[in-house]
């Protein structure tokens, strides 16, 4: 167990983590400035998870949430388990070989999103009574008014909002890794996980788009089950 955790960390990992946290925060702010309807505040976390492993990713997520919380927006503090699981899950997916081509990245993003939705639901229900200060709470509130019970309402809201955000996050993290020189990527503990498989990238992107469509249909189906039933 401890050896596994230790294998995520070398000096380069320790140096990368602060920079990844700063990337999370800086990109989060740029996205806010461009007024895009996503957060994209865990690109650095996914980057660390893919290059160094799940535990390094989890640490990056947790610390970036805590630091964001104590320096800018104290409202972010209670959400650290979500950031932890995002980093951890991204690392695990990379370990299982899902960080090697575009369509696999989409699957990774989707799995991360589901994990985030599951972890954030109890926090939102027990700490905030289901309605937080984020904008997507309007959907939750609407569902609750129409008689859906609180947990289902919160979960389906998260399930609606998270996948788009997390799939884009994973794709951006992947394209960053692709864009870096091999010499720089090579120094991290798990860099071989993030190497691209052979094959036509054009074709890869088409498959990725197909996978996104399938996942969206699946998501709509699941949500209609939860809220309708």
């Amino acid at each position: 167990m401890f050896d596994k955790i230790k294998s995520n960390f070398n000096t380069q990992t320790w140096v990368l983590i602060p920079i990844a946290i700063a990337i999370n925060i800086a990109i989060g702010q740029i996205v806010g400035l461009l007024k895009l309807p996503v957060f994209l505040d865990s690109i650095g976390t996914v980057l660390v998870a893919a290059l160094c492993g799940p535990w390094a990713g989890a640490l990056t997520g947790t610390l970036s949430n805590l630091i964001w919380g104590v320096t800018m927006d104290p409202n972010a503090l209670p959400w650290w388990p979500v950031a932890f699981m995002i980093g951890y899950m991204a690392g695990r997916m990379a370990e299982w070989g899902f960080f090697k081509s575009w369509w696999k990245i989409v699957v990774t993003g989707f799995v991360i999103a589901i994990t985030a939705a599951i972890v954030s639901t109890p926090i939102s229900v027990y700490l905030y009574g289901g309605i937080t200060s984020s904008g997507s709470s309007f959907i939750t509130a609407y569902l609750m008014q129409t008689g859906t019970d609180m947990v289902a309402a919160v979960f389906s809201t998260n399930f609606l909002v998270e996948p788009v955000d997390k799939i884009i996050t994973a794709m951006l993290a992947f394209s960053i890794i692709l864009g870096l020189p091999k010499r720089i990527v090579g120094g991290y503990p798990k860099s071989e996980q993030a190497q691209v498989e052979g094959g036509n990238t054009q074709q890869q992107l088409y498959i990725a788009v197909g996978v996104i469509v399938v996942l969206i249909l699946l998501a709509i189906f699941v949500i209609s089950k939860i809220t309708g039933g």
Partner: protein, 259 residues
């Protein structure tokens, strides 16, 4: 712009002289008590009987109330309004707005929730105002936290302002060569690449150089490192910390017993 990101205000007071770990324990204990003690007015009591007097005795009341009014109150107020309107509980309607209605029950519920969140945020604000981050980290390292954690926290606090400055410079530079950051959705989404790219690649290329630099200064050395600053800790504070832990356990117990 300050070179390091922190709330900390340097004053000479009882609160500032306390050991960082004591203050951290205190903040956590207050939050837990406010959340789990099963009495309706607990959060308000904690706020006015503990947090506010502490901020006065710490000579940071002005900074604290500024943070409370500017940062905490808007967020908590929004939460209160949302919850009061949207919680589908209670019968007695006091206010109606289209399909939304606030009942006496939902207002009471929203008030308690908002008060709890207020306590949570203000307890940590108080902690951050009176504690310097490097003081906290060196104290925790002395107690056995791996020194790499202090490196990560402290250097993150230094890097973030640098990164923000860099991001602003990149935004200004790309705008000056005509990048559209304000019109249609697609244009704004397309602007993401030219803004994020230089920022991220620029900072990732530095990693290796930094790694070599800190490696050369004994970063991975297993030997105990000596610290330049002594951080005071007393028998009294250790007793205080354990009694806070006892208080937390007691209030969790009371919560379980009550329900």
């Amino acid at each position: 712009m300050s070179d390091r990101l922190s709330f900390h205000v340097q004053r000479d007071s009882f609160l500032h002289r306390l050991n960082p770990l004591t203050k951290l324990t205190l903040a956590f204990a207050l939050v837990v008590v406010a959340f789990v003690l099963p009495f309706y007015w607990t959060p308000i009591f904690v706020l006015f009987a503990v947090i506010v007097p502490l901020s006065v005795s710490g000579k940071i009341f002005r900074e604290f109330s500024w943070a409370a009014l500017r940062l905490i109150l808007p967020a908590v107020g929004f939460l209160f309004v949302m919850q009061a309107l949207f919680q589908p509980i209670g019968e007695q309607v006091v206010f109606k707005f289209y399909f939304l209605d606030a009942t006496t029950e939902s207002v009471a519920y929203a008030f308690r929730n908002a008060a709890r969140i207020f306590v949570m945020i203000s307890a940590f604000t108080l902690f951050l105002l009176s504690t310097h981050p490097s003081e906290l980290m060196s104290d925790l390292t002395r107690r056995g936290l791996p020194s790499q954690f202090s490196y990560v926290v402290i250097s993150t606090l230094q890097i973030i302002p640098q990164m923000q400055a860099k991001a602003n410079a990149i935004i200004a530079a790309q705008r000056s060569r005509g990048l559209d950051t304000e019109s249609s959705f697609l244009k704004r989404a397309g602007a993401l690449g030219p803004l994020v790219g230089p920022l991220v690649f620029g900072s990732l290329v530095e990693v290796e150089e930094r790694a070599i630099a800190i490696e050369a200064r004994g970063f991975t050395s297993k030997r105990a490192k000596t610290s330049l600053y002594e951080i005071a800790d007393s028998k009294f504070e250790s007793v205080l910390r354990w009694s806070l832990v006892a208080l937390v356990v007691l209030s969790i117990g009371l919560n379980l017993w009550h329900s």
